[in-house]
């Protein structure tokens, strides 16, 4: 049992989503039995030996996707399991101290995202222009992104329209576990970007997960409308990944 806790702690320290399931009501021999279910990794623990373990896993993934801890009942309500859900805070990393970044930051915060703005151009990336950002990084993307860390709760939005800043960010973000990577650019500039990045060692599969053109099509043109469309896409991807794709087949 202590081994399970030490693995649990490891997941938490690595900023990974993980759920600890514990039987809190039921037959005496089951009380306190546990299972550890990471979002990305092998579930383990004695609870998984039970015949209804697939129901338990499904509930664990669903709760993890929603980011809420809760109890669920099994075996005609005779057994109650509490799911202690730990999800690292979601992060939005914006590369480019451009106009729509400010609106993105404003939309992201009430949605529960911790916001990071990355731009080495100190004249543009000022706290006067971006008073609401949680963390400002006056560094190149290839320095800032590893420092911030790209985990499965990270969304990366690349919007400088400048290959010398956009490309290094994409080279790190696309192969990373970040759940969302999007980049601004017309179809023409995107095609050129794909050629460049393929030439620099990224694979077609990695490039296929890039959201470009960025954002859901809301038909808007103003900076606030574009920011909303990007944020809406991030929320959609986040929820879909959590709710649909991670549920194992029974």
């Amino acid at each position: 049992m202590s081994e399970l806790f030490s693995i649990f702690k490891d997941y938490l320290e690595q900023d990974k989503s993980v759920t600890l399931a514990t039987v809190v009501r039921g037959p005496a021999e089951l009380l306190g039995a546990k299972a550890l279910i990471p979002s990305d990794g092998e579930p383990q623990g004695p609870l998984l030996d039970l015949p209804w373990h697939s129901k338990l896993l499904r509930d664990a993934y669903q709760l993890m996707g929603e980011g809420v801890s809760a109890s669920r009942r099994y075996e005609e309500d005779q057994i109650e399991v509490f799911f202690d859900v730990h999800r690292p805070p979601s992060r939005l990393i914006i590369v480019g101290a451009v106009h729509i970044a400010d609106a993105l930051i404003r939309f992201a915060k009430p949605l529960g995202y911790r916001t990071h703005l990355v731009d080495p151009r100190t004249a543009f990336a000022t706290t006067e222009r971006f008073p609401h950002v949680d963390e400002m990084h006056h560094a190149w993307p290839d320095e800032a992104l590893p420092e911030i860390g790209l985990n499965s709760e990270t969304a990366v939005v690349v919007i400088t329209h400048d290959p010398k800043l956009d490309d290094p960010a994409l080279k790190l973000a696309l192969p990373s576990p970040a759940f969302y990577v999007g980049a601004l650019g017309s179809p023409k500039t995107h095609a050129r970007r794909v050629d460049r990045l393929l030439g620099e060692g990224l694979t077609q599969v990695q490039l296929d997960r890039l959201h470009a053109p960025i954002g859901l099509d809301l038909g808007g043109r103003t900076p606030a409308e574009i920011a909303l469309s990007i944020m809406a896409e991030i929320v959609a991807v986040h929820n879909r990944v959590a709710l649909a794709e991670r549920i194992p087949e029974e």
Binding site: T126, E128, P223
Partner: protein, 336 residues
């Protein structure tokens, strides 16, 4: 203020300083040219003026928040903000001159597109209002963006080309230091236009500052000793890292060698706490308006160090963290 400028203008004209005329021939945005009028420049870099108007515009544009326009700077913050803006303009001007010499330029349509990305489309209503409130035109904004983009692109493509991520800052600092060393930079200090060359081989500009112990300390008090003039702040982590090394070397080489730790624009009790925590025994001085650092020594970043020989000449200047080994080697070269 206006009267003082006029008097200055007259006295300088009488003194026959042709420099002033040269400064007025400098390039500036068309919208501002007509306003150049009688105001004296704030500084000049290799003869190219940085006008007072440019400094004021820098203050406004660098704080331009389209979504939520900011109130003007409070009077008590204005002087410091002007110092910082002027310092940035001097560095920018140096880099632009070098870029120009190498024929480096960005296409106007690239600059215009980036200006729209950075601040919103020209016809954006909120942007129009923010610009009107700031008293800046769209063309001036585009011009400002163009200068910064040119500087950034030149630094990225030429200066830092091939540098590893962790080396970039140092490569840039050294390059800029070398440019400053080779440039003629003139800045108004008090009521006088001075040639500011705190450079290797030049006399270190004298100053008088209040120490943490409350007494006044002048650089000239230390004539006959080798001086490490080190500019630092408590929020500059690499400053805090190097100070204990300097303390150790100070104790080892004193009294032939002294360290003057000049803190930049922080409150005395706060500085005292850090100085005590770091166990500093050398004089710690307070540059409260930043004038010594920004104007006299043209500091472009922190930490910044100047080694001054027994005759008061700067023999070495170092921007960024300087190791104890480097300092000891420089002292050895001075016979310590």
């Amino acid at each position: 203020m206006g009267q003082r400028r006029v008097i200055l203008w007259l006295s300088m004209a009488v003194a026959g300083l042709g420099l002033v005329a040269a400064l007025f021939l400098s390039r500036q945005p068309d919208d501002l040219a007509t306003e150049a009028g009688l105001a004296l420049p704030a500084a000049a870099v290799n003869g190219v003026a940085i006008t007072q108007e440019l400094v004021e515009r820098e203050l406004v544009v660098s704080r331009l928040n389209v979504a939520a326009p900011l109130p003007p700077l409070a009077d008590e913050d204005l002087e410091r903000a002007r110092e910082e803006a002027l310092n940035q303009l001097i560095s920018r001007q140096l880099i632009l001159q070098e870029a120009g010499r190498q024929g480096f330029r960005l296409e106007p349509d690239v600059i215009e597109a980036q200006a729209e990305l950075l601040f919103g489309p020209e016809d954006d209503e909120a942007l129009g209002q923010a610009l009107a409130q700031a008293g800046v035109g769209w063309s001036e904004l585009v011009w400002w963006v163009g200068e910064i983009l040119t500087v950034e692109e030149f630094v990225a493509q030429v200066v830092m080309a091939g540098a590893a991520p962790e080396e970039r800052q140092q490569v840039y600092n050294e390059w800029l230091n070398a440019r400053r060393a080779g440039a003629r930079i003139e800045v108004y200090v008090g009521d006088q236009l001075q040639v500011v060359r705190p450079l290797t081989g030049a006399a270190a500009p004298d100053f008088s500052l209040t120490g943490l112990d409350g007494g006044n300390v002048s650089l000239s008090d230390y004539r006959g000793q080798v001086v490490l003039l080190n500019f630092w702040t408590t929020w500059c982590s690499s400053c805090l890292t190097e100070l204990p090394d300097y303390e150790r070397i100070y104790r080892q080489y004193s009294p032939e060698f002294v360290v003057l730790g000049v803190n930049l624009q922080e409150e005395a009790p706060h500085v005292r706490q850090y100085a005590a925590g770091l166990g500093l025994t050398f004089p710690v001085l307070l540059d409260q308006d930043g004038r010594v650092a920004n104007r006299q020594y043209q500091l472009v970043g922190l930490p910044g160090s100047f080694i001054i020989d027994r005759q008061g000449q700067i023999v070495y200047q170092h921007l960024g963290p300087m190791s104890g080994e480097t300092l000891v080697a420089k002292l050895a070269a001075l016979g310590l």
